[in-house]
């Protein structure tokens, strides 16, 4: 699998607490291929953000990380500080949900952008400034020179998220990890950011790992989708397959909860129950507590990942009979 630029194998992340530790990620594994946009979707608390942080070696203490994450042939878990410094922002860039909190309010956009660029690229101050302007043009911010002189509070949420994207791509990373970058934005601005990321992926061959809980955003942006539940990937496949022929009962339910226009004033489908408490995740298949197809087997034995066809994989005892 030489076309895989980011590979996660059996990732486990725990946060020790006074009583039982929180098992945020429990054996998550998937690969992201060169130039694709992979959507990582799941409910709050399923471990998707922690997985993303682990890819940059950013899991906050006292979190303990086990398993393997290979970015462009190099292991991230247990890597040296020097190696991590090169990785962050250089090979892998990340943008966050709230762009207002991700920028330092005391420095201008220009100062923050050029600082990042000078860490990763062999340029002087004016060279860095040119690269920053180039990056701001790339994300289609009008008047990039003016934007460089602004402080974060002088820009709107949509403009700030564009600045974040510009900062992320300014060092020419292999991979962009986007952690719910549109959740805090208006629908209109969300659409603009989706189109922007789609264009960047196409024109620059940027690999994107896009984390969201919004099915609409995934459908309009991602080539492939990985569905995460209680710290594991339960299903993965192309967007077409996952939206039209989902195999896992959780994916099926999740797809139905999204409101879509044209249905009129009706009740929405819901997934009964709650996301499990990750201090004591259910035995067997973690979804069995909310699944209408659960058998005795599902309560006891955790299902293995099976390949259905092509690159469509699923972890469910009953996937084949339910399809």
């Amino acid at each position: 699998m030489s076309d895989v630029v980011l590979e996660i194998r059996d990732l486990r992340v725990e946060f020790p607490e006074l009583g039982r530790s929180v098992q945020a990620v429990r054996g998550c594994g998937f690969g992201v291929r060169y130039g694709e946009v992979l959507g990582l979707i799941g409910e709050s608390g399923c471990g998707k953000s922690v997985t993303a942080l682990a890819c940059l070696g950013l899991v906050p203490p006292p979190g303990r990380v086990h398993g393997s994450i290979i970015v462009d042939g190099e292991e991230v878990i247990g890597a040296s500080r020097k190696a991590l410094a090169d990785l962050r922002g250089g090979k892998v860039a990340m943008i966050f949900q709230n762009p207002g909190k991700a920028l330092n309010p005391f420095f201008t956009v220009g100062r923050q952008m050029t600082d990042v660029i000078r860490v990763h690229r062999p340029v002087d101050r004016s060279g860095a400034r040119d690269l920053a302007i180039e990056a701001l043009e790339l994300v289609r911010l009008p008047d990039p020179r003016v934007v460089l002189g602004k402080y974060p509070h002088q820009l709107s949420g949509g403009q700030l998220q564009r600045v974040m994207v510009a900062m992320a791509v300014s060092c020419d990373p292999l991979i962009l990890i986007a952690d719910e970058p549109t959740t805090a934005l208006d629908v209109t601005i969300q659409g603009q950011i989706i189109v922007l990321i789609r264009d960047l992926a196409q024109s620059r061959g940027l690999t994107v790992l896009f984390i969201t809980h919004d099915q609409g955003v995934v459908a309009s942006l991602c080539d492939r989708v990985a569905v995460m539940y209680a710290g594991r990937i339960v299903e993965m496949g192309s967007s077409d397959v996952l939206f039209n022929r989902p195999a896992h009962p959780y994916t099926r339910k999740l797809m139905l909860t999204a409101p879509r226009l044209g249905r009129g004033k009706t009740d929405l489908d819901v997934i009964p129950g709650q996301v499990p408490d990750m201090r004591a995740p259910p035995e067997g298949c973690a979804f069995h507590t909310r699944c209408s197809h659960a058998l005795e087997l599902c309560r006891k034995v955790s299902p293995l990942t099976e390949t259905l066809d092509g690159d469509h994989t699923v972890s469910c005892h009953r996937a084949k009979e339910l399809v």
């Binding site: 949509g158 659409g191 809980h213 309009s220 999204a258 879509r260 226009l261 929405l268």
Partner: protein
């Protein structure tokens, strides 16, 4: 409720807001946050108020509740002008209006137990006995799907969806007739959003509540609202029954909002047509039609004159010089 019922007579109106306006003076000048906004909410009806951040939709909500003072216009609730009330009457009237805020992580006091969060409004407004209060708290919690075992817990012990249920229970504590829902699901997951929206629909049917539902997400508006008001830069640009407005929008802004919703279907990916640009600064609004800098149809007329909200039948009206419906 259908639109016919809405047209059947003004006596069904629970709340009538006429020519609301709100000005904010800032260091840099005066902002007209709400400009000549009028609408009616009938009994048992859900009216949605939609628009981007900063268009004034939350300001409208706050003026209705008199959490901020308005600078012009009248609000008639249940046949009585809110400005003509004595302070005592105004207080009684306030119990009939309530609000659920956007972020249940910020709107619930982290140091109060659920029992006190829901019980506080009952305690401060009515002299009911302790037993009666407990009984009411239990009933309200039950109606939002929470049990007595949750009463003594703190907000941090609940998920986002459950917190929003607590906020709804608090809003219902005084048995209001009109509930203002200010983006009640914007901070929640899509799967949890569905649960909360279903709950709100259920409560409306069982209690005969009226809702003013504020949102920027038109997909959720469709599954909860009867009529919709589309707001842009402090003004209403289109109104009408949800099904008509969403299938045949009359204002280019409504069309643009509809086209910015990502559809959960990969084959319809190309339909996502985000609106260009951002909401202009209300300190320095554009000339003529305030939407013209972002509008695909703007003509020279739109740059000079500001269109007024014109009614064109079937309970619909729009403020645009172009006839989008005829063009379709």
């Amino acid at each position: 409720m259908t639109d016919q019922a809405h047209l059947a007579g003004a006596d069904r109106a629970l709340l009538t807001a006429a020519n609301l306006s709100k000005l904010y003076s800032t260091r840099h000048g005066v902002i007209q946050a709400v400009d000549d906004v009028s609408f009616v909410i009938s009994r048992g009806e859900t009216v949605a108020l939609v628009g981007e951040s900063g268009c004034g939709k939350s300001t409208v909500a706050l003026t209705l509740l008199r959490l901020i003072d308005r600078d012009g216009g009248t609000v008639v609730f249940d046949g009585r002008d809110l400005d003509q009330l004595t302070p005592r009457e105004a207080n009684a009237m306030r119990r009939q209006l309530s609000i659920v805020f956007q972020n249940p992580y910020a709107s619930l006091n982290p140091r109060m137990r659920v029992r006190d969060i829901v019980g506080e409004p009952i305690h401060t407004t009515s002299g009911v006995s302790r037993g009666e209060r407990e009984e009411r708290i239990t009933r309200h919690l039950l109606s939002v799907g929470l049990g007595p075992e949750h009463m003594d817990r703190f907000p941090h012990e609940f998920s986002g969806g459950q917190r929003q249920r607590i906020a709804v229970a608090r809003a219902l504590a005084l048995e209001p007739r009109l509930l203002i829902l200010d983006e009640p699901t914007a901070a929640l997951d899509v799967s949890v959003q569905a649960q909360v929206l279903n709950l709100l629909r259920e409560l409306q049917m069982s209690k005969g509540l009226s809702y003013l539902y504020i949102s920027h997400d038109l997909a959720t508006v469709e599954c909860i609202a009867d009529r919709v008001l589309v707001m842009y830069l402090g003004r209403i640009v289109e109104t009408g029954p949800v099904s008509d407005v969403f299938t045949h929008p009359a204002h280019p802004y409504t069309r643009a909002l509809l086209d910015s919703i990502p559809v959960p279907d990969p084959s319809q990916r190309e339909r996502l047509q985000p609106l260009r640009g951002e909401v202009p600064s209300p300190l320095n609004p554009p000339s003529g039609c305030v939407f013209h800098p972002r509008c695909s149809r703007a003509s020279s007329r739109c740059l000079q004159a500001s269109p007024t909200l014109e009614s064109f039948g079937n309970g619909r009206s729009a403020a645009c010089f172009h006839d989008l419906i005829k063009e379709q």
